[in-house]
Symmetry: C2
Subunit: 110 residues, 2 copies
DNA sequence: TCATTATTTCAATGATTATTGAAATAAATA
DNA sequence: TATTTATTTCAATAATCATTGAAATAATGA
C-alpha cells in the first residue's frame, strides 16, 4: 500500500462521526445499512451524514448500492484489513522485539 | 477505548510524516531511535520532526526517553494494538458475515 | 568557560476541514 | 401528476493544522 493511501484512509477515520459510522457498519457486516438508518442511529443530520459518507467512500473504506430510494452502505473489510496490516508491517524487523508487539485479536466474531 | 481516544490516535497517524515516523519506529521495535536519526532517515527538518513527534507522543502512540543529549523515541505497541482492536470490534456482530472480515496477519515478525 | 551538537519552542502564513441552513435531485406512492 | 420520502449538493462561516525561519534550551566535549 502506498503511504498516501494509508493517510487517506486514516484521515477518513480520524473524525468522531466518520469513525462512529464506520464502526456501526463494521458491526453490521456485509448486509450494510441505509443512510437514513445510520443517521437515526447516530443522531446526525442527513446532509452532515452524507458529507461524512462521501469521505469514507472516497477513501475506499465503505461501498454503497442503490436499493429503491434507499442507498445502502457497507464496510469494505479488505480496505480495512489492508490498512491494519500496513500499520503493523515489518514490526520489530530492524530492532528489538517488544512483548506487546503481537497480533491483536481482530474481528473475533467473524 | 473511548471514541475520542481512537480519533486522537487516528488523527496523529493521518499525516504522511507522522505515519512515516511511526512506521519507522514500529520497524525498530523496543530499541527505539534518537530524533536526529529519524530526521535523517526521513529527510525532515529537526523542528518539523519535533512538531510531529509531539503529536504522536500526545496521542500516546510513542514514548521517549532521554539518553545523554539524545532523545530516544519508541513505539507504544499496546496503544497501537488497542487502536487496531477498536477498529474491528464487534465485527459483523449485528449482521451478515463477510468473507474478507478476518484477522489480518499483523506484526508477523514478532 | 566556550563551542558544538541535539532537540524543542515560538510566531506568522497558508491551506484544509467540519458545520449549518437551504435548496436540489431522485425514487416511490397516492 | 402531485406529494412524500430519501439522499445529496451547495455556499458561507469558523476552526484546526502543517510549514517555515529564527531563536531558545540542554547536554557534551575542548
Amino acid at each position: 500500500m502506498k503511504i498516501e493511501t494509508a493517510v487517506t484512509r486514516l484521515t477518513a477515520l480520524a473524525q468522531v462521526h466518520r469513525l462512529a459510522v464506520f464502526r456501526l457498519l463494521v458491526r453490521k457486516g456485509a448486509d450494510g445499512m441505509p443512510a437514513g438508518e445510520i443517521a437515526a442511529a447516530l443522531k446526525l443530520a442527513p446532509n452532515a451524514l452524507s458529507f461524512h459518507l462521501k469521505g469514507l467512500s472516497a477513501a475506499g473504506l465503505i461501498t454503497s448500492r442503490q436499493d429503491g430510494r434507499y442507498v445502502i452502505y457497507s464496510p469494505d473489510f479488505k480496505a480495512m484489513n489492508g490498512l491494519l496490516d500496513y500499520l503493523t508491517e515489518n514490526c520489530c524487523a530492524d530492532g528489538a522485539l517488544d512483548a506487546a508487539c503481537a497480533p491483536p485479536q481482530n474481528c473475533q466474531d467473524c
